[in-house]
């Protein structure tokens, strides 16, 4: 009995250490974004007593942050929508039909995980410059699709494969076309898988720095990760503003995760990977 209690206590202590290790930097980032400048840059205090929204105000009034934020939202949502549509189509076709080279398609998708980012980014950038769309949000969406499409197809392929074919057959016997059966029967049943793909595509696009720093050069087209990173150089280390900007990128992710963690963990288990 005593041994069991001791074990529980040890585990809880380790658990607390894990929480501190994982969450303290995030706490520190958030708390630093609301501490008044006087104390932020002169003393360390774990639980501050005075708060300010000054950095957020500066961020929105003195920098291009609102534009960065809007760009990130546009890019992430376009990426998610396009990924969903295309990945669903490819994955369904591959899962439901005996096509020659089907295995090759699936392997190619997995293979795409291992491309060095520069191997994709250099030619993509060259291509968009050539057609006059260099430094555009469209080019960034295209770059993100090179990551999210393989992931989406790979994941949904597994998902569709596990849905019994009989459900579509039944719908087709009842007079649905293949497309009708797909839209009315398969898609509604696939909602959990679709959410997982959406969550991952959003995450990849929203957090991406590598492709964004390559594809985007002008200030008006920057997404937040690149915009924030460039502030470090030009802003002579305004830590308050930088931490406020970081908190604003993290916040949507933390909110999404709180509600959708089930799908996230399920996705990880099934081979959806980020970074």
């Amino acid at each position: 009995m005593l041994r069991k209690t001791l074990k529980r206590a040890t585990l809880s202590a380790v658990g607390l250490a894990v929480v501190l290790y994982s969450a303290f930097p995030i706490y520190w980032m958030m708390i630093s974004s609301v501490r008044p400048p006087g104390s932020l840059l002169t003393e360390v205090s774990l639980v501050p007593t005075r708060f300010t929204l000054e950095y957020y105000k500066n961020l929105f009034e003195l920098t291009d942050y609102p534009a960065y934020f809007a760009n990130s939202v546009i890019v992430a949502f376009s990426t998610v929508v396009i990924t969903m549509v295309l990945a669903v189509m490819i994955a369904y076709a591959v899962a439901r039909y005996r096509i020659r080279g089907k295995k090759a398609i699936v392997i190619a998708m997995l293979y795409a995980y291992m491309f060095p980012p520069l191997l994709v980014a250099i030619p993509l950038y060259a291509f968009f410059v050539k057609i006059g769309l260099g430094d555009s949000l469209i080019s960034l969406v295209a770059a993100h699709l090179t990551l999210t499409l393989p992931l989406g197809v790979w994941f949904l392929w597994g998902f569709f494969r596990n849905l019994p074919f009989e459900i579509e057959e039944a719908a087709m016997v009842d007079g649905c076309t293949r497309l009708g059966a797909f839209i009315r029967v398969v898609l509604p049943l696939s909602v959990p898988g679709l959410i997982t793909v959406a969550v991952f595509s959003f995450l990849l696009s929203w957090t991406d720095y590598t492709f964004a720093v390559i594809m985007i050069s002008s200030d008006v087209n920057k997404t937040i990760p690149v915009g924030l990173a460039s502030m470090i150089g030009s802003f002579d280390l305004r830590w308050g503003e930088v931490m406020a900007g970081s908190t604003l990128i993290a916040a949507p992710l933390l909110i999404v995760f709180t509600f959708l963690s089930k799908y996230f963990i399920q996705g990880l288990g099934a081979g959806a990977v980020k970074g």
């Binding site: 809880s12 658990g15 929480v19 994982s22 969450a23 930097p25 995030i26 520190w28 980032m29 630093s32 840059l41 002169t42 003393e43 360390v44 295309l86 990945a87 189509m89 490819i90 369904y92 076709a93 591959v94 398609i105 998708m109 795409a112 995980y113 491309f115 060095p116 191997l119 994709v120 250099i122 030619p123 060259a126 291509f127 699709l145 090179t146 499409l149 197809v153 076309t177 293949r178 497309l179 957090t207 720095y209 590598t210 390559i214 990760p225 690149v226 924030l228 990173a229 931490m243 970081s246 990128i249 993290a250 992710l253 933390l254 995760f257 996230f264 288990g269 990977v273 980020k274 970074g275």
Partner: protein, 286 residues
Amino acid sequence: MSGKSTIYAFLGVGLLTTLLFVIVPVTFSVGLSFYKMESFVGTPEWVGLDNYKSVLSDADFWRALLSGTIYAGLSIVLQLILGVGLALILHQSFFGKSLVRGLSILPYLLPTVIVVLTFKWMVDGSVGIVTELLKTSGLPEVRWFETSSAAMMSNVLVSVWMWTPFVTTCFLAGLQTVPESLYEAARVDGTNAFQRFIHVTVPVLKPVLTVVILLRGIWMFNKFDVIWLMTKGGPLGSTENLAVMSYRRAFTQFDVGGGAAIATISFLILSVAIYLYFRAFPLETD
């Protein structure tokens, strides 16, 4: 529309886009590596294997290959040890377990940019909290970025913090599939916890581990953002890996062909490594 044509339409549209976005650029990139191109708007000039010759005879290339391999190797090993350890702990039952599990994934969700910025803020020389902590506990000051080994360790530290949750989550999911009866049988045989881990847990979870190591390996070898944001490959190029080198060539030194050649070479190296990996640890396919 008949069933067959729906399928073909789906497949056609899908594959065409994939081709456009993934296959064409990669092929094009390999092509670019045979040209001399000083900017993205200039006209490329065919130079054959010259880019490869100059890259392979460049000492910086070999240094970047070595340093990138050390970085990837160290971070994978540490992620694995820490990730598996954490999974084993989080698999036990204790007070607040689900909260701890949820919070332990957070680092994996964050964009690299804010992880790096927060790290730099925490170790800031004047008021960083880590700096303060070291000072108050009487420990010597750490210069996180000034020597090549310190910069390398900083990069590894940040990478391990960010990506360990991936290992933890996968391993934890795997642990739930290990039948309790196997542990019971092993207990009857008088084994201790460590022996049960080695002889029961590891063999059952081998497929999970194989994939986790492979994916982490690929991503760490290709890693660009952490290194670029942390050290820009410095000090004096000592933490530069092939991804950073390729970026610098193509985008700051106006040698697009050279950048493409480095990217192609690192892709080839990775392909060979993965081939050998699969030879050593074949995937169990269904």
